[in-house]
Amino acid sequence: MTWITIVWSMNAAACLTLAGIYLLVWCKQREGWAHLLFSFTAVAAAAIAAFELAMMHAETVGRYEALIRWIHVPVWVLIVSVVSFVRLYLRAGRPWLAWSICGLRTLVLILDFIFTPNLNFRQITSLRQFSWGSEVISVPIVAANPWILLSSVSLLLLIIFFIDATITVWRRGDRRRALVVGGSMIFGAILAWHVPLVIWGIIDIPFFLSFAYSGIVAAMAYELSYDLLHAAQLARQLQASEADLRETEERMELAASAAKLGMWMWDIARNEIWITDKGRALFGFAPSEKVDFDRFRTAVHPEDREFVLQAVENSLHTGAEYEAEYRVLLADGQVRWIAGRGHVEFNGNGQPARMRGAALDITKRKQAEEQFRLVVEAAPNAMIMVNTDGCITLVNTQAEAVFTYAREELIGHPIEMLVPERFRSNNMGDRRCYFCDARARPMGAGQELFGRRKDGSEVPIEIGLNPIHTSEGLFVLASIIDISERKRAELEAARQRSQMAHLSRVTTLGELSGSLAHELNLPLSAILFNAQAAQRLLAHGDADLAEVQEILSEIVSEDKHAGEVIRRLRLWLKKGEVQQHSLRINKVVQDVLKLIRSDLVNQNVTADVELARNLPTVTGDPVQLQQVLVNLVVNACDAITNCTIPERRLLIRTGIENRNGSSAVTVSVTDRGGSIPEEKMEQIFEPFFTTKAKGMGLGLSVCRTIIAAHRGKLWATNNADCGATFRFSLPIGVPDKEVVITNN
């Protein structure tokens, strides 16, 4: 064996080894086409080496001709493979160049088998042999075939293709790859030009075309191995990061388990649900049981199934967060409340691929909610819970009854629907204020509140407000009492009181010895005297017109006066509506003095009056207050008349008193008559208690009822020297709703 045989054979063996290795690699990774192409290239390179060796040792012209013809086959394989490799692996080189090269080489191969002896030569005349070292090498003496130009053109295009591809890769920034792969290919393609030089006898060296190609193969192998190494490195890194990921997942699962969260992931395409052990326990899945969506569906309580499916469908379609609170029916019949949350992940086509989420056991919370609901339901009053937006979140049966709405018509609607329209805007403002400073208190202090029923009618109500702080925010629980019945009873009481007061007024009028009718006599007398005087003046014929004028104007004024007396009388005897006025107590006293003037005169009693100035107004019914004062004055006159002391005076005094921080206007009537025995001090205010022969014993009891309805007090005290003082007080300020009530 000569050394050339050894080297060329080793070269071929190396190429075949590499081809074998990468063929194996390709078998493992079918999508790695670069590996297969490399294998072809390496096999072709090995074959070229074998042909070269055979040619150098060829003995006859015929054998040489045949070898040259057949060497075109591995060359074709090699060039097509390398071009494809450049396109596929380096993703460089112009496609038209690639196709041109492949096409040209195929033409060359076809022509090679058409021409005799081959494409390269028209004829090999003889073999020239020279010795190179210790070797004898055969070289043909030839007549060149002009079609060989096609082969040369294909080689030239190949060099251009390689240069272009190298530049592209270089520009892409992958300089190492450009240098190693592109450089070796260009170098290899250039080296191929030594073959004609040897044939033409210009240089005497053995053919080493196979080495030029082996260089390319080596560079390709290096590049591919680099990639393999890189992939292996990536795989290691991936493994490491997967380990990290697993640890993170484990930690998360631990946290989820601590929070009693069951984590799950639903692979929608495969319909597989992966779920943590905690999650399995929540839903009652066996530890090794395979879970799919259908298994999940059957776990959900039948009554909640449709609702849960809808929630899932909705998330899948819209991509919205999945959120649902539902019951799970466990094998032992136990019911568990679950709060589920999750979100959908979509694949590149916008199809839902996965859904991930968590499930939480909220049974205890639900039980607490249920208890709260039952307590509210069992409450004797109407209860309505409202959130910060003013929407109703909870009502009980009593609330339905008071407002005549069904529960479904109330929940989720603004509370203003239950407020009469005239109060609505105020209510919204008040509600906001309340949420700013929420504490338990009655609503609308001092005001009358009304609710609006479904049919638009109003119902008088009383409302207590309680703030409730929950994890979902602040709520207000309103406790509502229908006070229609109470109002009716109050109205009835007021009506009876009014009737009683009227009866008492009529009685009092009868008891007034002077009587109001007498008051009419005065103006009537004046009118009569004036009229008759005028008649006389006119009868004489010498009437002074100025005097007649004066008489007439006096008649008119007295007539008005009489009318005023009648009006006062009518007012006094009027039955019915109790009115509430803001009034001055001094005016009431003066009106009473006008009413009883003639009585005082008749009984020869002098009334001294001390009226305090600048008294605040009080609220009440003027006629009823007059009635009280008339009663007190008439009683005082009686006390004076029954007394032997000659001082026939009484004192009416108004003033203001402060007691316990609240102010009240007071009116007192003091007489100089006898005193009241201490044991009868309260008895005198009882109905049917009387000391008078003709009295009914109603006066003072009615007076006390009237004053009480005005939120005032009426009491009596004995004076230090003689006589007694009756005094009543009336609160100053806000109108009293008790007095507002009318009797229809």
Binding site: N521, A526, I527, L528, Q532, A533, H561, S598, N602, T606
Partner: protein, 207 residues
């Protein structure tokens, strides 16, 4: 002696419209009228020498009609009073008449009734004043008696004899006779019967 003043109707009523309308009516009927708003006002200005009558409202504050009637009687006034009242009743009218009221009318009163009552009252006043004039003269004659003569007079009107009187006074019958003659002379009476009638009118009682 000056001519006596013409009769005046005094009106006392606290209610101004009634006061002024009565005044107007009476003036139209030809009377002189003096009106007062209260008894006090009337008492302050009243001149008892003026003849006439008083139309008095019964119901007035402070001093009422009855009280004014009492005050006037106390003063010895003989002015006839016609009471006018808004609410007259029998007890009140009885009380008024008992104390010498001329009439008791209830408001509103017809003009003729009122004027008639006033005319009667004025006539009564005139008669009273005439009697009053005689009495004044007698009183003037009585005033001329000495204390001893007055003593004797008081004994004579009891119907005692001169001897008895002398015994009572501690003197002699002759002295009593002289005093008696002088009393008869001074009082211008002719008989004891006349003397007795005269002393009765003056309110002198025997002892």
């Amino acid at each position: 002696m000056t001519t006596p003043p013409s009769p005046t109707v005094f009106v006392v009523d606290d209610y101004a419209p009634v006061r002024s309308s009565i005044s107007r009516l009476l003036r139209a009927a030809g009377f002189a009228v003096a009106a007062f708003g209260s008894p006090q006002e009337f008492l302050a200005q009243y001149d008892p020498r003026i003849p006439g009558c008083l139309v008095l409202d019964l119901d007035m504050p402070a001093v009422n009609g009855f009280e004014l009637q009492r005050i006037l009687a106390k003063k010895g006034s003989l002015l006839p009073i016609i009471f006018l009242t808004g609410h007259g009743d029998i007890p009140k009218s009885v009380r008024a008449m008992k104390h010498g009221a001329s009439d008791f009318l209830t408001k509103p009163v017809n003009d003729e009734d009122l004027l008639a009552a006033i005319r009667v009252a004025i006539e009564k006043d005139r008669a009273l004043r005439r009697g009053q004039t005689n009495l004044t003269e007698i009183r003037a004659r009585l005033a001329t008696l000495t204390p001893r003569e007055r003593e004797v007079l008081e004994h004579v009107v009891t119907g005692k004899l001169n001897k008895q009187i002398a015994g009572d006074l501690g003197t002699v019958e002759q002295t009593v006779k002289v005093h008696r003659a002088r009393v008869m002379d001074k009082l211008k009476v002719q008989s004891v019967a006349e003397l007795v009638r005269l002393t009765e009118r003056c309110g002198i009682t025997g002892r």
